[in-house]
């Protein structure tokens, strides 16, 4: 028998009021503004923009405010909002060689043209608390050099590529429009454009764990950070009505080029192979993890055995999306009363049958 149950409207409405009060915290303290979040929690906003797959700093900040800093919930808000917007089209591919660099380091080449630029980073901090931040009021100011950075900051793989020791990254003759997993279902085997899009919007923690597994031996790559660069790139778009490319403004991005040793195969001479990471905002951990996983997912293309999770595209692509993953895991919170009732009755029935059988056997002895 199936009995439809209705109810809970009043309780649900009350949760909205209760969560609003919880969100506000102690009313004696000043409320956070969205601008404060977008300026002072920039790295959290960057993560939300990546996993929400929408570049909009103030919306990312609003999302974080609305869900009390829950990054996955914030990404979900951004994804949901995106579906309400029309898409005007696709940009021209951004040119990271033209980036207005604010940070650029290579762990492979010491003396590269343009130099090693540390930029704003926590890498060289001692990870000791700065209790001065508990008191408010300071306005730090960074020193300003007399001259800016070199105008030309070539990407490291482009420099080494000239020698022919580096896997070439070149579009095919058609340079075709990339697959869009927000519009079409993913099929396997998945091409590089599909994989990169999925990784770019994938969960940072999941990709970090996979990248770590590769480094620890579950994947067999030894990556070098060929280059990590962060700064602003302009986004160019050709509106149909105008017919020429216009510059929509700048976005902050992080790019990572991983370099890996490769023994070669019967078709490919020994060379360095590459993995690519790209993230909105300043997000090096994500870009590096993505680059390592991008390379490990090339296993099929390079004729390598794919024994490990990070080399299996179906495993990686189906499980990297934290909005989908949390939807499926957390849906278990929703009422499953009928399912459960069914299982409960089945168990009772089996037990009753077993008990009856045991009684029969006893009686027979």
């Amino acid at each position: 028998m199936y009995v439809a149950v209705k109810g809970g409207e009043a309780a649900i409405l009350a949760t909205h009021d209760l969560i609003a009060e919880e969100r506000r915290g102690d009313p004696a303290l000043p409320e956070l503004s969205v601008n404060q979040i977008s300026e002072q929690m920039q790295l959290a906003c960057a993560r939300v923009m990546n996993e929400g797959s929408l570049y909009d700093k103030s919306l990312a900040a609003l999302a974080l405010k609305q869900c009390q800093g829950d990054g996955v919930e914030a990404a979900f808000l951004l994804r949901a909002y995106r579906t309400t917007l029309p898409r005007f089209g696709s940009s021209l591919p951004v040119d990271t060689a033209q980036m207005a660099i604010r940070r650029r380091v290579s762990a492979a080449f010491k003396d590269l043209p343009g130099g090693q630029v540390l930029g704003p980073t926590y890498d060289y901090t001692h990870r000791l608390f700065d209790f001065a931040l508990m008191a408010e009021g300071g306005t730090p100011s960074a020193p300003v050099a007399e001259l800016p950075l070199d105008a030309a900051m070539p990407r490291v793989p482009d420099i080494l590529g000239a020698e022919g020791l580096m896997e070439d990254e070149r579009p095919d003759a058609l340079d075709r429009t990339p697959f869009d997993l927000t519009r079409d279902p993913v099929e396997f085997p998945a091409d590089r454009d599909v994989r990169l899009q999925a990784l770019a919007r994938g969960d940072e923690g999941f990709l970090l764990g996979l990248a770590y597994s590769v480094q620890r031996g579950f994947g067999g790559n030894h990556p070098f950070a060929g280059e990590i660069r962060m700064g602003e790139v302009s986004v160019h778009f050709i509106p149909e009505e105008l017919g020429f490319a216009i510059d929509l403004g700048d976005i902050t991005v992080t790019e990572c080029q991983m370099i890996n040793q490769f023994q070669g195969s019967k078709d490919i001479p020994p060379q360095f192979t590459r993995g690519y990471g790209f993230a909105f905002g300043h997000n090096e951990r994500k870009a590096m993890a993505m680059a390592i996983v991008d390379r490990s997912l090339k296993a099929r293309d390079l004729g390598e055995a794919a024994h490990y999770p990070a080399q299996q595209e179906e495993f990686v692509l189906y499980h990297a999306d934290n909005v989908e993953a949390s939807g499926f895991v957390e849906h278990l919170k929703l009422p499953h009363y009928v399912d459960f009732q069914g299982e409960l009755e089945l168990l009772r029935k089996i037990r009753a049958e077993q008990a009856a059988l045991a009684q029969q056997n006893e009686a027979a002895e």
């Binding site: 797959s53 929408l54 570049y55 909009d56 103030s58 919306l59 995106r82 917007l85 898409r87 005007f88 089209g89 696709s90 940009s91 591919p93 207005a100 660099i101 940070r103 010491k110 003396d111 090693q116 960074a142 020193p143 300003v144 050099a145 800016p148 950075l149 990407r155 793989p157 990254e169 070149r170 579009p171 095919d172 340079d175 429009t177 990339p178 697959f179 869009d180 927000t182 590089r192 454009d193 599909v194 899009q197 770019a200 302009s234 986004v235 778009f237 509106p239 105008l242 490319a245 216009i246 510059d247 929509l248 403004g249 976005i251 991005v253 790019e255 590459r274 690519y276 790209f278 991008d294």
Partner: protein, 153 residues
């Protein structure tokens, strides 16, 4: 940019549009406040927010892929015989309207020079200044390597 003959205006257009795209609503409103408000205009496409899918290339140079979308707001107006367009990152609809009107004014030889001097040139200089300052700050973090000489050689 300012001294370019008007016949070259079309080639300048992407550049002034880029400057307008990087401006704020307040930057542009200032001009209209100083010049008797918004000029008469017809809205051809009301300011609307949508997205543009931002493409990248694998390795920076290879196969194209979709990195994610960005919010973009557009607006199209007509001033006399000139169609003014604005497409810019973000969700500011007033900004889109002001930028579209200025784009139309800039195509009009009667207003081109005045708008270039009053709006585009100062914004362009300020934007270049911000970029330069960021680069100069980053330059203080550029590593200078020293070669250490050990022992007696």
């Amino acid at each position: 940019m300012l001294d370019t003959p008007l016949t070259d205006m079309n080639s300048l257009r992407p550049r002034w549009m880029a400057v307008l795209a990087r401006s704020t609503q307040d930057d542009l409103k200032h001009y209209f406040d100083q010049n008797g408000g918004l000029p008469d205009h017809h809205i051809m496409k009301a300011a609307e927010t949508g997205t543009v899918m931002v493409e990248g290339r694998a390795g920076g140079t290879g196969q194209r892929f979709n990195t994610g979308e960005a919010t973009v707001t557009r607006c199209v107006v007509r001033l006399g015989s000139h169609m003014g367009f604005s497409y810019a990152l973000g969700r500011d609809k007033n900004h889109a309207l002001y930028a579209a009107i200025l784009d139309a004014l800039l195509q009009d030889p009667a207003h081109h020079h005045a708008v270039m001097v009053a709006v585009i040139k100062p914004l362009q200089e300020r934007q270049a200044q911000v970029r330069l300052e960021r680069s100069r700050k980053a330059a203080t973090t550029k590593v200078e390597f020293f070669t250490l000489v050990r022992g007696d050689g």
